[in-house]
Each structure stands twice: as C-alpha cells, then as structure tokens.
Amino acid sequence: MRLNFCFKSVQALALALAVCFSLGATDAGSRFNDLGHRLMCTCGCAQLLGECNHVGCPESGRERKELTTLIGTGKSDKEILEWFSAKYGATMLAAPTGHGFDLVAWIAPFAVFAAALLGTILLVRRWGGLSGAKLQAPAVDLANEDPADRERRETIRRETGIDGGF
C-alpha cells in the first residue's frame, strides 16, 4: 500500500516535471532569447547566436533579423530551428536534435547513469547479502549503551582511525 503510494507520487512528480520541461517561452522577447541560445553564430566565433558580441560580425546581425522575422511569422520553435538547420547546416543548432542518430546523444548519458546506478545497487546488495527488507543494518543504540562499551569502541576508533576521513 505504502509502496504503491510512493510509486504513484513519483509518477505524479515525473509527469509534473515532464509537463514543466515541455513548456516553452511564449512572448516574442522570451522566444528570441530562448531560440538565440539554441543556435550558434556561424561566423566561426564558436559562440551562441544570442551571445555573439562581435561588432561588425558578418553573420550574427543577419541571423538575428531572420530569427526575429521567423518568430513574427508565427512559426513554432521546432519549425524555426529546422529552417536554420536547412539553411546553414546542422552545426548551426547548438545541441543535437531529438531524432535520428542525434537522439543517441541525449539518451546515452542517462542510460549510462541508470545502468551504473543499477549495477552499483546490485553490487552492494550482493556484497552485503541484503534483501529489500534488510537494507538498514541495525544501528547501535547509543543512548542505552553501556559506558564501558562506549569507551572500548571509542578506543578502537581512535586507534584504528576508522573515523578519520572527511
């Protein structure tokens, strides 16, 4: 029951986050700023279009005007990015797209992390011979501990330096 509740809570949180992250900027200024940071300037300065600060840059002025015009025509973000990609090449997009081989760029980090996390948890469980119910090993009840035991334990700690790291 409790596990089910936790699972549903996590699902709800994931859904809320997914909705949040899928929302985009709405007004023209925000969209210009957002899209300007998803495109590269093509003059070779290796800067984002929204941040290219070269006076007399042969490319960024024209590209910014094109961006403003495209936003004005009511095209979606995706259509605008595709337009720039078609005109200037895929390298104008500051990040890989979400389809085709580009998708691998996005998936791989999370897949590796998930695999490593799972592997670590399984390894720890194997090492400790822990079952799901035994994840927490019993801790010493310090409040009711015999003072002699405490002193002994403390001596061992001091002598072995077990607690020495940060």
């Binding site: 709405t26 290796a46 990040a95 996005w106 994840l135 090993a137």
Partner: protein
C-alpha cells in the same frame, strides 16, 4: 642560445632514457634475484641520479627559451611567432606556454620538477620510489622525444631574420594568463605522480595501503593546482572574452574538467581503501583514467579532432599522443590483469545507507558527469563517422544533461557527511536530516516569495527552476555542514570552557582532513550559488553619444567621453562612463578595446564592478562606423563574485586538509583540561 637549448634538450632525453632503462633493469634484477656485474641497488641509484640530472638539463632548456624571449632572438621560429620587442616582461614569460612547443616544454619541465622532488625524498620508501621514478622517466621520455623530434622549440627560422616578432596572442596578454596555464599544467602533470605510484604499487604488489598515504599529499596538491587553474581560466574567460560568461563548454575547458572529476572521485574513494581496504581495483583504475584523461585532453585539443576556440594549439602531434596513450593503456591493463589478485577488497559495503555507499554514489555521479562531458565532446566526431553529419554539442546540451547531475552531486555533498560508516538507522537519519530538510523548504519558500519562480508569464523557466533547486539544496548542505561543526565544537567547548570559535578551531586541528574536507564542501556550495546566479543574468546594448544614458538593473551609465590611447604594444579606444545609482554618482568605468600592433588583432578589456550581489560588466564593443559613436553592452550578472569567493574557501579548505592533524596527545596538551577525548564528538558525528 638556440644551440645550447637544443643540446640540453637532447641531453635531457638521453638522461630520461637512461633513467627508464637502468631503473627498469635494476628493478627487474631485484625482483628476480638475478646477479649482475653491478648491484641492482647501485644501478637503481644511478637511474635516480640520472633523473635528477635530467631535471637540471630540462631547467637549462627552459632557461634557454626564456632567455631567448627576453633577448628577442627572432632567429628562433618559436620566439618570432610568440613574442615581440614591445611585449611587457611578465608576458614574455607567458610566451613559454603560448605555443605548442613551449607548452610541451613546460609540461616536461614541471614533470621534471615533480620527479626531482620525488627522487630527493626517495628514502621514504626506496623501492616504491624507484618504481615510481622509473615510470615517471617513461612519461618523460615521451615528452622529450616529441620535443626533440616533432615539436622542437629551438627550430631556426628559414630566410631573413625579421626585426620584430609577431607578438603574443592578445588573448594571453592578461595578468591571469601569467599564472593560469602554469597552475593548470601543474595539475595536469601532477597527476602523473599518483599514477606512477599506483602503477608502481601494483607492479610490485606493494603490501598495505602505505602508498596511498605517501601519495596523498601529491594528489591533494595536484588537485588544488588543477582546481585553481580551472577557476583562473574561468575568470580569464569572463574578464577577457567579453561575452558575459565564464564557462562555454569549449572542448579545451572540458578537457581540463574531466581529469578534475575523476581526480575528485579518486580523492573520495581512496579514503575507503585507506580506512577499510575497499575499492582497490576501482581506485587504481580511477587514477589510471585520470592520467589518461590528461593525455586525452591534450590529444583532443592538439590533434584538431574537435573544433575549439583554442585553435592556436592545434598541430600534427596527435598521432604521438594516440600511440603513447595506447602504450599506457596496454601497460595498465597488462599490469592489472597480472596483479589483480593483489587488489582484493578486505571489506564490503554492508548497507546502502552509510558513509561508504555515499562515497560510492559520489563516485558514480562524478564519473557520470565525466562521461557526459567526454560524450558531448566526442559526439560530433561520432556523428560524422556514423551518419556523415557533423553536429554541434554546445552549452544547451551540457546545461540540460550536466546541471541535474551537478545538483545531485550537491545533494550528496550534504548527505554524505551526515551518514556514519558501516550502517545507520532511520532514527539517526531523522535526527541528522531534520535541520537540513527544514532549511531546504524554508529556502524554497523564501526564494518563491523573493521572486525566484520557475513560472514566469505563464511559461516554465528551466534556468529559474535549477536556480531555485540549487539555492535550496545549497542552504540545506550548508546547514548540514555547519551543524557538524557545531556539534563537535559544542562538545569541546563544554569540556574545555573555550568559546565556540576557539572550539571550532581546536576541532579542526584535531582532524584537519575531515574538517578541511568540510570547508572544501562549503567552498563548493558557495561556487554553486554563484553559478546559479547565471539564471538571472540580464544585458542590454546601446550606441551612446556624449551624455547618453543606458540603464541596467539599479544602475544608470552615462557616457562622458570616449577617447584613444596608444603605446608601443597596442592602440586602445575606450569609453568613460559615469555610473549612477539612485541618482547619485557611484564610480566610473572605462571599458576598452585594444588593437595589438605586432599581431594587428583586437582584444576586449571588460570593465567589471563587482559587489557580492552582482557584477556590473561593461563591454566596449567598438564604434559604429557610420556615426563614430561607441557601442556599449552592459551585463548585470548576479552572484558571480561568489564563484571566486568559493574558490578562496576551497583553497583554504584544501590547505587545512594538507596540514597534519594534532595527535590526541598533542591535542590534550593544548587543551586547558586534560583528556579531551573526541569520543562524544565522534560518536555524535557518526550518527
């Protein structure tokens, strides 16, 4: 001087080769017990002395190059390409690392310095140091071979010798560039030492974990250099490039960050080996990887595999690095396979909720971050190879993938120290975590009230969301760390009668490593707060005529003039801007643009006014060719100063961690009341 430099470079190579061969032979004789005409101990000592002499030879080479820069010896191609007569003295030193040949020489020189110190302190453990010294000699042979045969720094200019040189790259003519590259290189090169010790300990099946204690100082110092080098690079990018940011995820930046991540992972997980004899294989591979990543970074930026703003460093020596990396990897794998039985763990993790597992997860996250950066850096090559389509992997990719990982790591920074070794109970978790959790949610509420809201005008802002999470988690982590300090200091204060400040000092002195580590974590948190401020950066750009005004945030900038200046090195144009706040004149800023005469290249000199809450960052972008009036771009960058303050704390924490702890006896002697046992403190700290 060119002949002298070339000669000493060749001598250095011969000495390093002798060090490698004689050292290897001596160690082989020692290991097998075979007899020879010369005793293996004497042979090993001659190898060690050759290493020391090699340091002198490389120092002489470096001196020859610096001398040539200062005497404007333009018959040497390198000097002609990287210096000029009017170059200020401090920047003449920068010429040493401004080009490929010089930077490789710097690498070899620093490696020689590290090797020199190592060989002088060989009595700590003669055999282990002999192995490590021989491995270092192998690395040195590689760099000296490149310097002698592929990238000679003393190559002579063909044809007529010009009166003046091309000058130093304008980007490098900034005070930090005199110290940033050497620090970064000290970090890069320094990881050769723990690598050499790890490989040596594995080769000789070194008993126990003493080698870790021996190398701890090296690793921590190296890590400190790399950290400081990276941050100085960030500050340089911020102050010189004029785009208002400090980290652009450029492949060269990534190349320095990757070994930092694995090095940081090593510093954490090595404690598990030291204290509990765990994760031995893991640690060995972490330090191998760190060293290989320093080489990979050099390969990426010098072989032209990926496009970078550091294009000046590209050349054809990539093949050398590929071959060397292959050899290093093969040696590592071979040694590991041969000696892996020596790396069996003495203990295993007992619980998922313990200090050990927090170290494990910390390593997992750090390595994932490293993978993300490596993946992002190499993906354009992979994409071109697989589908024939080159793509850009820029800031949006890293911000989306790496920032959540960074935040997770931040959470672990706070959680880890609150967990005891071995295992814990829900009761103690609740007790230790209640304050941090309260502070976390309080911060969320305060931030939301103060206007840090992920939702603005009906749209969701990822940047604001990350900033909100970063602020909240940072405060929670600080609460956790400070409560750890207070808990321990409270016990000492009660037992000694000293006030809390003195008690905190005493507590730190008793376990500098642990509390130095906590201070480092505080520094990291302060840096994160500074980074989170970037979500609220604003900027504006205007062409300003005389007495025109530009407003950004609470500031109004009034143009009171623009003028030109020149000296032997550069011509400059700059604007004079009076800055007003609440109608009152506060200060004046003079953003500048320079054109260096020797190279005819422009360079921005940003004017920055920094206060704890933000930086007012003003760029003179040049003049409008039609009107002749200056174009000014102003940024208001919140909390940037916190990044540099965080670095200071981080450096301080590392220095504290480097100081040996007071022994219990010494601590007792210094306390006014006897036998201040850390019992209560340690027990409480363990819960």
């Amino acid at each position: 001087m060119a002949a002298f430099g070339s000669f000493t470079l060749l001598i250095a190579l011969a000495l390093a080769a002798y060090n490698l061969l004689a050292g290897a032979l001596a160690l082989r004789l020692l290991a097998t017990g075979q007899s020879a005409r010369i005793s293996p101990e004497r042979l090993a000592d001659t190898a060690r002395r050759a290493g020391i002499a090699g340091f002198l030879a490389i120092s002489a080479t470096a001196f020859a190059l610096i001398w040539s820069v200062f005497t404007n010896d333009f018959s040497i191609t390198y000097i002609m390409e990287h210096s000029n007569r009017a170059l200020p003295g401090a920047y003449k030193f920068s010429a040493l690392w401004s080009g490929q040949e010089g930077s490789l020489l710097l690498w070899a020189w620093l490696l020689a310095i590290y090797g020199f110190v190592l060989r002088l302190t060989h009595k700590t453990d003669v055999k282990l140091f002999a192995y490590a010294g021989t491995i270092l000699a192998g690395i040195q042979v590689f760099f000296l071979a490149i310097l002698n045969f592929a990238a000679p720094p003393f190559a002579l200019l063909k044809g007529a010798i010009p009166d003046d040189g091309n000058g130093l790259n304008p980007l490098l003519q900034y005070p930090e560039m005199v110290i940033h590259p050497p620090l970064l290189y000290l970090g890069y090169v320094g990881f050769s030492v723990p690598f050499a010790f790890a490989l040596a300990a594995l080769m000789m099946r070194y008993p126990g974990e003493k080698w870790i204690k021996v190398t701890r100082l090296w690793t921590l110092v190296t890590w400190l250099f790399l950290t400081a080098g990276i941050f100085l690079g960030m500050h340089w990018a911020y102050a010189v490039l004029g785009w208002g940011g400090y980290w652009g995820w450029d492949p060269v930046e990534n190349a320095s960050f990757m070994p930092w991540l694995t090095g940081t992972a090593f510093l954490h997980s090595v404690m598990m080996q030291e204290k509990k004899g765990m994760m031995k294989s893991w640690n060995v591979w972490l330090i191998f990887s760190t060293f290989l990543l320093t080489l990979l970074g050099t390969l990426l930026t010098r072989a032209g595999l990926v496009s970078s703003v550091h294009a000046f460093a590209q050349s054809s020596i990539g093949t050398w690095f590929v071959v060397f990396m292959g050899i290093v990897l093969a040696v590592c794998i071979f040694t590991y396979v041969l000696q892996r039985s020596h790396l069996k763990s003495e203990h295993h993790l007992e619980s998922l909720v313990s200090r050990e597992s927090s170290f494990l997860f910390n390593n997992l996250v750090l390595l994932t971050a490293c993978f993300v950066i490596l993946w992002g850096t190499l993906f354009p090559i992979l994409s071109e190879y697989v589908v024939g389509n080159k793509v850009t992997v820029g800031a949006p990719f890293y911000n989306r993938v790496a920032v959540p990982i960074g935040l997770f790591l931040l959470v672990l920074t706070g959680v880890g120290p609150l967990l005891p070794w071995r295992a814990t109970s829900f009761k103690s978790i609740r007790r230790n975590f209640v304050l941090p959790v309260i502070s976390l949610w309080t911060t969320v509420i305060v931030c939301l009230v103060a206007g840090v809201r992920p939702w603005k005008d009906g749209a969701f802002s990822t940047g604001d969301f990350y900033a909100l999470v970063a602020f909240a988690v940072s405060v929670a982590v600080l609460t956790a760390i400070f409560s750890e300090f207070l808990r321990g200091a409270g016990v000492i204060s009660r037992q000694t009668g000293r006030n809390l400040f003195v008690a905190t000092w005493m507590l730190t002195r008793r376990n500098t490593r642990r509390y130095g580590g906590y201070i480092i974590h505080i520094g990291v948190v302060v840096v994160v707060v500074g980074l989170a401020g970037a979500a609220f950066n604003t900027n504006t750009e205007r062409e300003l005529a005389m007495h025109d005004k530009l407003t950004i945030g609470p500031y109004t900038l009034e143009c009171i003039g623009f003028t030109q200046d020149s000296n032997l090195n550069y011509n400059s144009e700059y604007a004079m801007l009076d800055v007003y706040r609440n109608g009152k004149k506060q200060f004046q800023m003079t953003p500048e643009k320079r054109v260096y005469l020797a190279s005819d290249q422009p360079q921005t000199m940003v004017a920055i006014h920094s206060v704890p809450s933000w930086d007012l960052y003003v760029v003179y972008e040049g003049t409008n060719p039609d009107t002749g009036q200056p174009i000014i771009k102003a940024f208001l960058n919140p909390l940037v100063g916190w990044i540099w303050a965080g670095l200071m704390i981080l450096v301080f924490g590392t220095l504290v961690a480097l100081v040996p702890s007071l022994s219990p006896a010494a601590a007792a002697l210094r306390a006014p009341t006897p036998a201040v046992a850390p019992a209560e403190q340690a027990l409480k700290g363990d819960q």
